[in-house]
């Protein structure tokens, strides 16, 4: 670490990097790498792709730091570059089947299908929820990763993704609704009144219809406010 780096703000480190401090940018990345990694991994859903995306993004940020105008927080800027790198990669592989998100603590982060032995209920549920998340359109997935999983405020997620706050709200809401349908959660009165939550393993196979999530867009499409 560069002496005194811990006392410097993120913006100071960017300025130091631009002034030729060879360790400043690496220090900046060290501060935020875990959060950036979590966002990348949860968005892209594949360990190697996430690693490539993070490296590409951060090297791009390294080279393009002079373009950082300081009109957003440094962390917002870094997140934006990482998320965009992930979305670019996902778009490139759109013709391939989606790989469900990895689980924390798994040695092999790739989804490996059903466990050979009955998994613990919470693990089973987590895998089901990740799979439902991975099946979402990427814009909805990215918004849910930032807001629901990473805990960023809607306004910050909007800055990261470069869209209006209303767009983030809509993407999150529609994403949650699709996931709820996929997981068989909403059961209006007259249906199954148990309202089983995703924590209930019974819902894992309870998808009534995929068409609800994958059907044609409704007439009211277009809540996005770029």
């Amino acid at each position: 670490m560069t002496p005194g780096a811990a006392a410097r703000s993120d913006a100071d480190l960017v300025r130091a990097h631009l002034a030729g401090d060879s360790g400043a940018f690496a220090e900046l990345v060290r501060r935020h790498r875990d959060r950036l990694w979590a966002v990348a991994l949860r968005t892209i859903g594949d360990r190697e792709e996430a690693a490539d995306a993070v490296q590409d993004a951060l090297l791009s940020a390294y080279r393009g730091a002079s373009g950082f105008r300081g009109d957003s927080a440094v962390t917002t800027w870094l997140h934006r570059i990482v998320v965009n790198a992930c979305l670019d990669r996902i778009r490139r592989r759109q013709s391939h089947p989606t790989v469900p998100l990895p689980g924390p603590g798994r040695d092999d982060d790739r989804y490996a299908g059903p466990e050979p032995a009955a998994p613990a209920p919470d693990q089973d549920t987590a895998m089901t929820v990740r799979a439902a998340l991975a099946a979402l359109p990427i814009e909805q997935r990215a918004a849910l990763v930032l807001v629901d999983m990473q805990g960023y405020p809607v306004a910050e997620a909007a800055r990261i993704l470069g869209v209006a706050e209303g767009t983030i709200k809509s993407r999150c809401a529609r994403g949650r609704a699709r996931m709820a349908l996929e997981l068989g959660l909403p059961r209006p009165a007259g249906g199954d009144a148990r309202h089983a939550g995703p924590g209930n393993p019974a819902v894992a196979g309870g998808v009534e219809s995929e068409s609800a999530a994958a059907g044609p867009p409704p007439a009211r499409e277009g809540r996005d406010q770029r």
Binding site: G20, A51, Q55, L144, D148, A173, L181, G190, S209, E221
Partner: protein, 311 residues
Amino acid sequence: MNRDFEGVDIDLLADYIGGALDGTPDNATVAGLIARDETWRSAYEALAQGMAAVGTELSALGAGPEPMPADVSERLDRAFRTATGARVVAVGGDERPARAVPATARARRAGTASSRARRARRWAVPIAVAAVALAFAGFGVNYVLGLGRSTTSSTTSSRANAPEAAGRDTNAPEAASGPAPGAKAAPLVALPPADRIGSSGTDYRHATLTAGPPAIAFRAPGTAAADTSQVAGSLDRLRPATALLTCLNAIATENGAGPISVQSVDYARYAGAPAVVVRFTAGNGSWAWASGPDCGAPGVGASRLDAAKVG
């Protein structure tokens, strides 16, 4: 559609529940439907509960730690070390102190004001890239002029000897640091024949990037037809061979799969904006990249507008 939600616009209802309709006329409309219509009310109650449950589950998943794995972290550190030129990971994988390419680049500016010296440090990496491009300028110019075929074999040979993963892990060590003393660098780029560098006049989109080179003949850069096109002025910076080579090196670096063999360079447009469209093959397949006029400029990288895998 879930049978229980027939007749209900689920996205609209989700927007309402998620607050995306706040302040819009639709908010009152949906509220009215929920108040009057049993189907909407039942759907609202169920969906709100389901969405809340999903939010809770995602929050729980997100609460788990997800530290960057050590190997990824080390790879990043290595990439930054390489990028700064402080150390270089050789093609063969062994590490050694970097050659003084950045210092050499700075030395060319010695004697100027101190602020210029500071800028030189700031642009140490881009200058290193440019230095490599200049080192191959004769190679590049010859190719642009269609005179340098004799260099092809040595270039190909160098690329053939480079490990496939070198580009990915070191992020173009040649470009970042230059060759080791006494060693011959493996260039990241082999330029196409001169008749594959030109201006087609095409305004590309993502779909057309993948469609292969335009059928219309290239016009050689510098011809009247090319220079009177709307894009000519915007892309003038990339006309000199050295600037084009630097741009192509930047593309190779960002592509991250080692040396690229360029099939064509088209001074064109992408989605209406001036762009140089580069078709190449590399260790990760055949690609068409659209890069902006700043491609290869200091601190910019490849200025990528789009990239499409071909075939």
